[in-house]
Symmetry: D2
Subunit: 308 residues, 4 copies
Amino acid sequence: MTDDAERLSRLNVPALDGILGRPFKVLDDGFVRVIDYMGTDESIVQAARVSYGRGTKKVSEDRGLIRYLLRHRHTTPFEMCELKLHLRVPMDCWRQWIRHRTANVNEYSTRYSIAIDATQRTPAGAWRKQAPGNKQGSEGFLDARTGRALSEKENEIQDTARAVYQERLDAGVSREQARKDLPLSTYTEAYWKIDLHNLLRFLSLRMDERAQEEIRAYAGVIGQEIVRRWCPIVWEAFLDYQMENVTLSRLEIGIVGALVRGDEREAIELARGFGWLKTDDKGLKSNRERSELEEKLARLALPIPWKK
Amino acid sequence: MTDDAERLSRLNVPALDGILGRPFKVLDDGFVRVIDYMGTDESIVQAARVSYGRGTKKVSEDRGLIRYLLRHRHTTPFEMCELKLHLRVPMDCWRQWIRHRTANVNEYSTRYSIAIDATQRTPAGAWRKQAPGNKQGSEGFLDARTGRALSEKENEIQDTARAVYQERLDAGVSREQARKDLPLSTYTEAYWKIDLHNLLRFLSLRMDERAQEEIRAYAGVIGQEIVRRWCPIVWEAFLDYQMENVTLSRLEIGIVGALVRGDEREAIELARGFGWLKTDDKGLKSNRERSELEEKLARLALPIPWKK
Amino acid sequence: MTDDAERLSRLNVPALDGILGRPFKVLDDGFVRVIDYMGTDESIVQAARVSYGRGTKKVSEDRGLIRYLLRHRHTTPFEMCELKLHLRVPMDCWRQWIRHRTANVNEYSTRYSIAIDATQRTPAGAWRKQAPGNKQGSEGFLDARTGRALSEKENEIQDTARAVYQERLDAGVSREQARKDLPLSTYTEAYWKIDLHNLLRFLSLRMDERAQEEIRAYAGVIGQEIVRRWCPIVWEAFLDYQMENVTLSRLEIGIVGALVRGDEREAIELARGFGWLKTDDKGLKSNRERSELEEKLARLALPIPWKK
Amino acid sequence: MTDDAERLSRLNVPALDGILGRPFKVLDDGFVRVIDYMGTDESIVQAARVSYGRGTKKVSEDRGLIRYLLRHRHTTPFEMCELKLHLRVPMDCWRQWIRHRTANVNEYSTRYSIAIDATQRTPAGAWRKQAPGNKQGSEGFLDARTGRALSEKENEIQDTARAVYQERLDAGVSREQARKDLPLSTYTEAYWKIDLHNLLRFLSLRMDERAQEEIRAYAGVIGQEIVRRWCPIVWEAFLDYQMENVTLSRLEIGIVGALVRGDEREAIELARGFGWLKTDDKGLKSNRERSELEEKLARLALPIPWKK
C-alpha cells in the first residue's frame, strides 16, 4: 500500500447529488427518489484492481475494464456500489418487487400506522386486454366505453373499501386486522437498498417486455433517470451486453449456421428434428421456441425458411 | 474416510412420512402441508462431525451435541436440514411471511391463473381491539353486536370485490390488471422451502406473542405439528434455549445483582440512573424497558422494588 | 386442493440412490460423494404448477416446461431441488469454491481436530505454464525434466511443512495456531448443500474453460456424474441453453447482420468504430472483444472479414 | 411526503471522515481501513420512521428508538447502513472471515498477480498452548526457549516456501498453480462491504472470547475504532444488549429462581435432574452446561450451591 492510499475522501457523483431526494413520479401517485448511494463507476474499477493488481490506470482503460467485467460475469466488483431508494408503489406491484431477495427493505407498517390513503386508479383508456398467446401478459386496450364503466366501478369499490377500513378503525378494531380487506391497489412506501449487481439483475428482469407494465414503469425510471446518472459507464455496458443482446442456444446455433451457409433445407430439417415444425390442418402449429428463434433471425437479417 | 462411509441410504423420519401431504388446517381456509424434507436430528450431528472429528458416537451424546450447537449459535449444522411446505395463506399474512428472505418460494401466479376464490372471513367474535399500550398490537375483542355488524360488512365488501374482479375478466381485462382491487384477505398458495436454521429463526419471531395472530397460527402449526415430529431433539432444545429463555442486558444485570444481594436501594438508584423511574403527577410514567425488566424479575422470583 | 393431493411420498431417483455415498475420485486424493438430495426434475414441474395452475400434465409437456423455465430465467422452481455433497478438496481450490455464497457449509475444523494429513501433489508432467495472453490462466506444460525437479522440490516442502506442524503439536502449541504454515495444497473436507439453481450457476462458472483446472475437475464430476443422473432433463437443457450457447452483444449483432447480408465493408466499419481494429507496425493489435467475436463468427460459419 | 423531503444531501459522519483511508494496524503486517460508508445512527431512525410513521422527532427519542430496535431484534433498519473496508489479513484468518456470507467481497487474486510477499510471523513469546478443556481453543503461552525455537523454524519454513514459489514462477509455472504450497500465514487483501446488521453479527461472534485470537484482533479494531466512531448510539446499545448481556435458558431460570428464593436444595435437585451433577471418584465430573451456569451465577451475585 503506497502512501497516497492513506488519505481518502468519499466518492461522490454530482449528477446524482443534483437529484437527491427529488421524487420521480411513477403511475398516478407513486414515486422513486434517491436517498443515498455508495460509490460509482470508479469504485468498480477500484475494487477490481484489488483483485487484478494496480497496473492499468488510464481513464480510457476504466471503461474497457468495466465492460470486460460485465461481459464476463465478474459480478463482485459491481456489488461494491450501493443505492438507497425511497419508493411509493401499489401493494400489487410491491408483491412482485419484494421477490428480489438480495436487498434491504423497510416498508411502511400498516400494523403500526393507518394505511396510506391512496390507491392506484386506472383511467378509462388504460384497461389492458388479456394477451391471447401469452397467458401471463396483456395486449392492447379495451374500448373507451367499456373502460369508462370499469373505471367508475373501480372508484366505487376503492372508496367503499376505504370507508369499511375507516369504520373498523372508528369501532376500535386494531389496525393490524382492520387492513385485511384493503385492495391490492393501495399504495405502500418503502426504503429499498440494493447493490448495483443485484439492481442490474432486477432491471434486466423488470425492464423486460414480459414484465408487468406497472413494475416496468418503475424499473424504467430507476434505470433511465437514476442508474444512468449514477454509473454512466456501467449503464451503457448493461444496455450493450445484457438488454440488447441476443442469445442463441445450441439448437439455434445449428440452424443459424445452416442458414448462413445458405442451406435452408438443413435448417428446416434441424427445426423439424427439434419438434418445432409440427402441423395441423391449419398449417404450422404454434411453438414458442420456434417463435423465439424467428425473432432472433429477424434481428440477424436471416431468412425464416419455413415461412416462404 | 472409512469403508463403511461408502454406502449410504437417505435418512428418513417415519413420524414425518406419516403426515406427508396431509394438510393441517389454519385459519378458516388455510393450510400447511409437508411436501418433502431432507435430513433430521441425525444429519445435524453428521455435519457437525465433519467439523469436529468423529470420536463421539453414542446416541446420548447426539442430544448433548445438538443442544450445545444450538446454545452456542453454531448455526451451520442446522442448515443441513431442509423442509418443503405447501401453504395456503391470506395475502395479508403472506406479506409478512415473504420478508424472511433466506427461503425458496414459488407462489401461485394471479397473472397466469384466475385468483383463488377464497378470502379469510372474520367471525363476529373475532374482531380484535387496538392495544392501548402497543401501537402494533391488538388486545381483547369487540362486543358481539359490533362484531356481527363488522362481519356482515366484510362479507359484502369481499363479495363485491370478487364480483368486480369477475366482471373485469368477463370484459376481457388481463388477469394481471383485473386483480388489482382484490382484498388483501384473498388466499394465495405457495411452495416454501427453507433450511432448519432459518426456519427456527422464522419460528422464534413468528411464534412470539408480539407477532400478529394470523401468522402466529401458522408458525404454531409448523412448530408443534411438523418440526416437533421431524427433529424432536432440536425442537426441545429450541424451546429450552430460544423460546423460554430470559436475556438480561448489562443494565438489567446490575439491578438483578443488587436485588439478589438484597440491596433494593441500589437497584432503585440504578434504575433511576437509566431513566426508567420518571414520574409525573399520576406516579411512575410508563417506560418500556422498565416494564420488560419487571416481567423478567417476576420470572426470576425477584421483587420489584419500586412497586412496593 | 383435490383429495389426491392429500397423500404423498417423497420423490426418489433410483439412478442417484445407486451411487449414494460412493466417492467419485477427483485429483490425486480428493472426492465428491452424494450424501442426500431433495426432489428431481418432477419437483420443478410440481413447483411451477403451483404458479401456473395445474392444466398440463403429460410427461412430454414436463420436458418442454423445464426447458422453457430454464431458457427464460424462471429460476425459482429450480431452487426446489436440493443436493448435499461431501467433498474432499485442497484448501487452495476450496478458497474459490467458498465464494459461492448461497450454499450451506460445514467444513472440517483444524481448530478442533488435527489437520488432514494429505496434500495435493503435482506429478512431473502436470506443471502448467503461465498463459501469455491471459493473465489469470495457464497454457501447456513445462518439459518433463523441469517438471521432475519441481515435483521433487514440492515433495520436500510439503513434507517439511507437515513435520513443522507435527513438531508444534508435540511441543503443545494449540491446533488453531500450529496450522498457520500448512501449505494451501492441504486437503480439507466439507459438507456442501446447495439448491439446483445455484448449483447450475456454480457449474456454469466452474465448468467454463476459463476456470482453474482443479475446480473444473470437481465441477465436471458434479455435472457429469451427479446432476446428469439426478435431474436428466434439467441437465440436457442446461447444456443446450447455458453451456453451449452463444450470446451476441448489441455491437456484435450489428456486425453479424452486416456479414449475413454479405456487406463485409460495413462489418469492418462497425468493428473499426468500436475500436476493435487498431493496428501497429506488426498489424492488428490484439483486442479481447474482437477475439471473442471471432470465435463466435467461427461457430456461426461466418467469415472474419478483417482476416482476409 | 412533505415538501422538505424533496431536497436531501448525503448524511456524513465527520468522526469517520477524519479516518477515511487511514490504516489501523492489526497483527504484524495486517490492517483495516475504511474506504466508504453509507448512513449513520440517523439513517436507522429515518428508515424505522418509514415503518412507524413520523411522529417522534426529538434527538433524545432517537437514542431510545435505536435501543428499542436493537433490543427487540428489529433488524431491518440496521441494514440501511453500509460499510466498505479494505483489509490485509493472513489467509488462515480469512478462511474464517469469508464464512460470513452476507457481505460483498473482492479479494486480491493470486491467479492474476504475484502473491503478496508477506506472512504472519509469530514472535517467540506468542506461541499459545492448546487449551485442556476446550478442544478448539488455546490458553497461556509456551515458555520463551521453546518459543524461540519454534519461531526460528517458522522463519525458515516461510522463507523456503517463498523461495519455492519464486523458483516456480521463474521456471514459467502459471501463477494459479505456483501458489499451491504457499503457507496459510500468507497475507491477502480484500475489499469487504457489509451492512451494519450483519456487521454486528460478525462482531458479536468474532469479538467473543471463544473466537480465535487473530480474528478477534481484527474484530476489536473494527468495533472500537470504526463502528464506535461511525454509529456511536448503535455501538453503545450493542455492548449493552448483545455483548455484555446474560441469557438464561428455561433450565437455568428454574435454578436461579430457586436460589433467589433461598432454596438451594431445590436448585441442586433441578441441576441433578438435568444431568449436570454426575460424579466419579474424583468428585463432580466436568459438565459444560453446568460450567456455563456457574459463570452466570457469579455475574448475578448468586451462590453456587454444589460448590460448598
